[in-house]
Symmetry: C2
Subunit: 361 residues, 2 copies
Amino acid sequence: MGRVYNFSAGPAVLPEAVLERARDEMLDYRGSGMSVMEMSHRSKDYLAIIAGAERRLRELMGIPANYKVLFLQGGATLQFSMVPMNLLTRPDQVADYILTGQWAKKAMAEARKVTSNIRVAASSAEVNFSRIPRQEELQLSPEAAYVHITSNNTIFGTEYFYVPDTNGIPLVADMSSNIMSRPIDVTRYGLIYAGAQKNLGPSGVTLVIVREDLLGRNAGLHSMLDYRVLAENDSMLNTPPTYAIYILGLVLEWVAEQGGVAALEGVNKRKAERLYAAIDAADFYNCPTEVTSRSRMNVPFTLKNDALNDIFLAEAKKAGLVTLKGHRSVGGMRASIYNAMPEAGVDALIAFMQAFAARHG
Amino acid sequence: MGRVYNFSAGPAVLPEAVLERARDEMLDYRGSGMSVMEMSHRSKDYLAIIAGAERRLRELMGIPANYKVLFLQGGATLQFSMVPMNLLTRPDQVADYILTGQWAKKAMAEARKVTSNIRVAASSAEVNFSRIPRQEELQLSPEAAYVHITSNNTIFGTEYFYVPDTNGIPLVADMSSNIMSRPIDVTRYGLIYAGAQKNLGPSGVTLVIVREDLLGRNAGLHSMLDYRVLAENDSMLNTPPTYAIYILGLVLEWVAEQGGVAALEGVNKRKAERLYAAIDAADFYNCPTEVTSRSRMNVPFTLKNDALNDIFLAEAKKAGLVTLKGHRSVGGMRASIYNAMPEAGVDALIAFMQAFAARHG
């Protein structure tokens, strides 16, 4: 078959123009006579690639000079450990976590290996994480080293549409699944991290944006786990994931060509609004999330009749709409509609859903 | 220009057939309608890719069933930390390191963050690491938790041609730069690790082969740093570096097509012998390494007249021979001739060197 519309939660759809460029440059990157995969990470060509990616990221996200940009490995899961290792400076120090789903829980579990003083500042567990706690529900510790949030919850389909006010305490955000989907004010955060494999590129590279005053708080950390050492070496303490960073750079070029992050936000809003409207309009479908917390990136929905799930997936696949199966914690379906999912893909899904409901309703 | 002969120490040359396959499959992996980069790591297609890579690796290297194969992130540098974190079980426990260059020193420096009881069992520092210590020089601690070696030294161009007898103590080897260049007996090792970017594939994936009885010796480790947890999750505790593993799988297919590791060893021997012979034959060049320790993968050599270095590099580049500049610790030149460097590339280098010496000698 030709290219499909791939609604995977991650690794996820990439812009076709990026893949075409990667294909065309595979054996010879711009006259260098070699693939980017074959380049020394210290070569002139490669240094231009990684510096270009950082520069473009800073422009697109408006990252101030007092924040370091790091391209690391290990995914968000290693950040679950590195954040507490680096930001907690005494064994009795407290950190606050806002629990909005499985990833927040996992982040907290790793932090508890550093200190037992990890507190839950708010949680929506009692409603199966179908909403984001509001500012007035947060019970923040005035002495916390940091406050941790998961800005978008891939599994449960919820997203923060406000930035928690932490009264000056560094806010740490796992933005893996909504980074670059809309403009953010980086200065509201102490540290942002994101696995690349949703909105930024392929898996295997992890973005960390960290305010300089948060570096070097602890001595004696292992080099690969110490933000200060990694920053001092410009993400080149050892060989970085060179090809993944190259693809990330191509994705950032594509974002710029689309008109930047604000332009993408407009598209993302339209895509999400149309899809949620289609779900809400049909008695046949149901969306489990509270309206004000609904993610623009991951749209979970169930069929009123669960017995139709397998038929839905099989027929969708025939129509070129794939990776729609929902996570087992929510059931039903999940359509992930990241930056690189074209509006036409969402429209095709909606048309399919309407036709399916008409046939089976 | 067309494709060059790339003598980079890593990331390094890849088989052209692998790059062509990656190019052809970039937008549509075998009828899936998507790139491997876009696939969910839990999809059927991707699970077949990662399982196939592991199966082929086990076949090619003869890895016994009581060893786990892990595809991790963070490079050898993160292994410098993970090895002592996982294998040292008491603060007073000892580990032995054999110092054969910069990478061994770095491994030891990270281990010393776990315990101060890291011992140097042997070192060739006094001869600028120009040789590998012999078995009878090793002063091994009978109570050590493990003995650590660097099986090939990328910078200094030396290689072990024997497996240290450790009297039953687990032998841990950083094989980043000579893995799969010749058959090894895996059962002689407790743990083998290797960054992929020399003989296995692109940077961003790290291979760990670990004997099962070495797993789970320490409780409370961070999940991403715990071999037991990573093994229990089949390298899928979180999203693995999916594309890098796919390329690694293609490289392994290529190795099989070449006739396997023993066949590659034959080629590697020929390439290295011819290049060292050419260096030794000319008064114009010098090789700093002791003959019995000379690496088949990384061949450092100097010009008798250092003033010619820049001219050598510039003329070599014009001849399509690139990334030959030596590491600053050794000076001169370094030709890395990994598995994927064709014999024709080595022959072209030798012909260039002879012509250059004739012109400038």
